[in-house]
Amino acid sequence: MLLGGALAGALRTSVTRVEGDGETVTLAAWRMLLRDPAFADAVLFTVRIAVLATAFSAAAALVVALTLRRRGTPLRALAALPVPVPHLLVAVVAVLWLAPGGLAERLLGALPVDLVRDRAGVGIVLVYVYKEAPFLALLLLAAMGRGMLEREEAAAVLGATWWQRLRWVVWPTVRGPLVVGCIVVAAFVLGAFEVPLAVGPNAPLTLAEYAQQATQNDLLAGESLQAAALLVAAAASIVLAVAAVRLAKDPQGD
């Protein structure tokens, strides 16, 4: 009910303009949004970061989970340590290590590329991978369980190679939880802005940063623009989620 109210409130704000004592219904904010090149840049930048951060986090999580699947609780607990650390705190750590003049540069002499406040958003992606890969690895390890190890051993006895076991035993087991986890990660990245504000560039902005700046630039009309931009971010999350679920479906319909 609260979420429905929130979305209805955002939609209402996006098509309303305060004039004098009253309010008028107008699509001016949406028109302004769609004509603004900074908004198009923000959409592209945000989707690119979300896709890259999610893909790299998923790949890293798969490697960690495969490495730890036969290991005990202490190692799994160590791998999960970044999970309770807030995103903003990881962003602070990234600035201390990777910013110009940061600890990495002091230890290595110089970094080959800019990693903080860079236009490509590499620093943002790195922060998300550090934070989200352990979260996804936890989901995968929970899905793997003892049953998968037994099936893997049975496949090995029948002569399946490492690659065949990965393709026919491991992947079908982890595909579902991995897709669900990736959807949660991508949706978070699409909407969050504490990490881009801390380590991201001044331009292009992410969608959430664009929405926040809209109210700073114009207090009245900015609210409609902000609501419209945030609704686009919400729609992008839902479209990506639907696409991920469809892509993850097995050709046989599993």
Binding site: A8, A91, L96, R106, A198, A227
Partner: protein
């Protein structure tokens, strides 16, 4: 023995270093009054960062964030419990739609949720108030808590409860002696996750808070302006998260 334990130790060392090294620098930076490049070790140690951090709105922000996180976690568990039971025990014929509605807040940016709620909260006088912040956080925390909690319920817990019922235990006794111990690990994980999500929530706090200090909002500006104060505030930010992790790990093991 040595051959088998070597890779294990190597993996353990790599994982521990991947966590401890980055986080450890926070502690060093928080107490480094002077740390100019290219020095790898601070030139002067001191408490400036801590003093600056605690002289502003940080303590108010800490208290606000803590109150909201605790209230939201308790409310989320209370609301998620019946939903998780129904979904976990597969009592619904078509669970997909309720599950989708429940999980939808995970897909909508929290800033969007907060900005949308602000329109209604302004009319209700809930903007710039802790109850408003708690309600906004609850929208985001509830799906996480429900998803974790529903894995606890299912045929084994139902069977245990039926056995307890046949032995004459009252509803309260069943809850105290059967259900809570049976779902303890999932409940601890749900409480931990709920607390952490609310504790670190930024978007909805910014939208609904109306300037009321919350710890993430107070911390962010210092990331660019003063890394030492940002590091000191980060330690303040990390402490309850670690405490919650330790408490949840203990609760998952020992009887409630």
């Amino acid at each position: 023995m040595t051959e088998r334990s070597s890779p294990r130790r190597l993996v353990a060392a790599a994982l521990a270093a991947a966590f401890a090294l980055p986080i450890g620098v926070l502690v060093v930076r928080a107490f480094a009054d002077a740390w100019r490049a290219p020095a790898v070790i601070p030139q002067r140690w001191g408490l400036r960062g801590l003093r600056e951090a605690l002289s502003g709105m940080a303590l108010d922000a800490f208290a606000n964030s803590l109150i909201v996180a605790i209230v939201v976690t308790v409310a989320a568990v209370a609301l998620a419990w019946p939903a998780a039971r129904v979904l976990g025990e597969r009592r619904l014929r078509h669970p997909a739609l309720p599950f989708l509605v429940l999980a939808l807040p995970l897909l909508v940016p929290s800033y969007a949720t907060g900005a949308g709620l602000t329109q209604w909260f302004l009319r209700l006088g809930l903007v710039d108030a802790l109850p408003g912040l708690a309600l906004a956080h609850l929208v985001i925390v509830l799906p996480y808590v429900t998803v974790v909690l529903l894995s606890a319920f299912g045929p084994p817990v139902t069977a245990l409860e039926e056995m307890a019922c046949s032995q004459g235990l009252t509803a309260l006794q069943r809850l105290r002696w059967v259900t809570l111990p049976a779902v303890r690990p999932s409940l601890a994980a749900a409480v931990l996750l709920g607390f952490l999500v609310s504790w670190s929530e930024y978007g909805s706090s910014l939208a609904v808070g109306g300037g009321r200090p919350m710890l993430p909002l107070v911390l962010l500006p210092f990331v660019r302006s003063d890394p030492q104060v940002a590091s000191a505030l980060s330690l303040l930010f990390l402490a309850p998260a670690v405490a919650a992790l330790v408490l949840a790990a203990r609760a998952a093991r020992s009887p409630l």
